[in-house]
Amino acid sequence: MDYTVIIGLEVHVQLQTRTKLFCGCSTKFNPDHPNTQTCPVCLGLPGALPVLNREAFHLGMKTGLAINCEIPAFTKWDRKQYYYPDLPKAYQISQYDLPMSQNGWLEIELDPETREKKKIGIIRAHLEEDAGKNSHDESGRGQDSKVDLNRCGTPLIEIVSEPDLRSAQEARTYLEELKLLLTYIDVSDCNMQEGSLRCDANVNLHVHQANGETVPTPIVEIKNLNSFRGVEQAIEYEVQRQWKHWQETGLSLKDVPKETRGWDADRGVTLEQRGKEDAADYRYFPDPDLAPVTVTDAERERVSQELCERPADRRARFEESYQLSVYDAAVIIDQGLAVADYFETVAESCGNGKQAANWVTQDVLRELNERGLDISKFPIQPDVLAALLQKVNAEEITIKSGRTVFQELLNYPEGVPGIEQIQNIIEDKGLALVSDTGELDSIVQAVVDKNEKAVADFQSGKQAALGALIGQVMREIKGADPKAVRELFIAKMS
């Protein structure tokens, strides 16, 4: 007997609007000043009414289109009703039977070696408002619980996948690709620590029996997955637990209702959760305070025009157009839109994609890491780096000198260095490549004259001696073209 793992993910993503979904309050992450970003609307005060934030709807459409969803012409708002202290109206404005986008897919790469790809179906993506945050006294002294409503009313898009994922690894890959996509199209920062991206996983097994039948085990929804590692580990744990449970009890989907379990990252286990989810009747009904939203073909078209190239497409194009390795293309794309744009500007204007990729993936990323910088704050503009690489390409300076110039540009004391600084640094430091044999000749001759032993060693076949001789010339003339120097030595000593 064996089994197939069946996984579907429900991902909640905070859309990066300036203000909340139905009021003008700020959406800033601000846990240190609770209940300061609130108003009568998001506090659910009597008489207050919601007003749709069109920007949130716009970002929702962008998201829906990016994951290849249909955007129906008509969508409406529904109240999902339940009691919880972080939900001051006792209902969440969400979308029930007519979501604003549906029937999409996201392609993931299963294996970078084989390049095998798989389309993961997306059932729907709908908009809803976030709840506030409860905090409970964990000291055991029975202090009051507290409620912070700063987050209450923040726009979320909930993306529900088909149960198309077949392993914890696939689930993680899907989530990573989704995050990358949403940050690329600039709808969310997907910051998992701050809760801008949260994930629940529905997991069960299809057990294949000897008689050829397949029996599904009970579906478990794992909540509280707030890291990629957590998603992977929780699913792995849950698969093992369900397999064991199946072997012990033989209970199948139809014997047991859907169960909710929480992921305890510290203990590495999922635990049964009791709470508002159990057998809840949310009594959904259309929110009479909000008019339905209609979307025209023109609007749909306009928003899809705004979409940039999806990361998967760009990855493929980088490999193709710039002859990048799978690895380099992935590294650049995974750094996000800004780094990819940076790379592309450099590659375009220096005319050598591979060289650009080397410099971006090694020198630039290293500096960003070391300095804890975002690419937008990186002192060397892409056109400057491109100009520098061009000089290396044109053999006006050596690669080594190029790295020196790079460091100098990084440490440029007066703001952002312009292209002209490259030349200034080359001149200041005497880095210009000297391949003029006339100028080099006298120095090479002097070194030959001073180093009788080394010359003799070379002549007796010790190639290593040549390196030391060249080094002496290079110390003398920083920009000396090592190739030219080498040839001069060989000519003089042979």
Binding site: L45, P46, G47, L49, R79, Y83, A90, D281, R283
Partner: protein
Amino acid sequence: MSITSATASELLAKMNSGEISSEEITSACLDEISRRDGSINAFLSVQQEAALEKAREVDRKRKAGKPLGKLAGLPVALKDNICSEGVTTTCASKMLEHFVPPYDAHIVEQLKAADAVLIGKTNLDEFAMGSSTENSAFKTTTNPWNTAYAAGGSSGGSAAAVSAGFAPLALGSDTGGSIRQPASFCGVVGLKPTYGRVSRYGLVAFASSLDQIGPFARDVTDAALILGTIAGKDRRDTTSLDAAVPEYTSTLEQPLKNLKVGYIELLHEEGLHAEVKEATLRALDVYKSLGAEMVPITLPHAKYCVATYYIIAPSEASSNLARYDGVHYGYRAPHFENMIDMYAASRGEAFGDEVKRRIMLGTYALSSGYYDAYYLKALKVRRLIRNDFEQAFQSVDIIATPVTPTPAFTIGELVDDPLAMYLADIFTTSANLSGIPGISIPAGMSKNNLPIGLQLLAPPLEEERLLRAARMFERETDWHLKRPV
């Protein structure tokens, strides 16, 4: 006429001519309240100091020749489910007994901008659920014509305040007749505008798709005056309509030519009180005498109005009132075991029976497995009722009906018979379900010396037509001039 029985327009004219000041008017109203509200119980709170202060400010502005708002110096009473910043807004519920909103409703802003003098907050059935104000957690408003009788509801306090001489103008809310029915009982003009004509922002929601704010006044002209100041698009209420607000008062005196008045033959003959029927027929004769054509109409789905209403309104109410859970504001039970218990105890202790009854009705109607049979079906019937009116207005300009099947009932008469109370909404709920405007105007007196109203209905956003038609009737009759003694 005395200050407290004059109309708003008369008082404005006197203030403009310098004959009287706003302070004098406001003081006269406040005196009348302190003299007689002990037996009428129209007010839940009176903002005496703030009112006098505003009155004096308006007087100073008027004296200095500064620009003044349209209601400058006129006392206005507000139903206590309309939020006013810094003033308790109780909804006549123990739940919100001490609730002080941090903001003004849209119409309160409009009234303040119009230099009205906000004099006090009036009694209502708890959360506007009821037809008699007997469901108020605090007091029962009596009918100024005879205090043994109900003032009607749910805006009974506002109707009684205008009728009793406490304020020339008042605001109420109408979800299934809550303005028109008490206006009819108390012998004043009550107008429910088109759904969306007036912003609901700051009106504590009962049934969001039916609620509409509207005025009480002593005649049609005053109703037109105040409607003009509160109507219009408000971006904070996305259901408010983006349509120009006509100068209702400027066309009011122009009679409608070739007016076609629709009336319903044999409408619920059985339950209709003889005196109400007589008053309605008499009113039709008045229009006939003015050259209007009487056109019998049918509203085939009218018989489902009450049933439809009592599915939709409680469903929305069950959701709208879920927020009163003792967590964030409002009443919290002093003793409870845990969170669920706190919710149950707070709501159990602070809501009255009628509110609980409707929450249970609505919760049931929205429950999984019942939604399609109740709520969804009610929405479909609502559509049919709306179609009936659209159809009818193809052939008539306005529709004339009774407001209620009977004149005011006595206090306590229907308290133990909620169904009879619900059925009395038969003529009023259709306007809310179909979103059209309706007005109740004084059109007769019963043998018991209680007012009888006439309801006129018009197509959506045709308040101007409605007011002009009402004014045509008013000019020919003197029911609106009668005052309780």
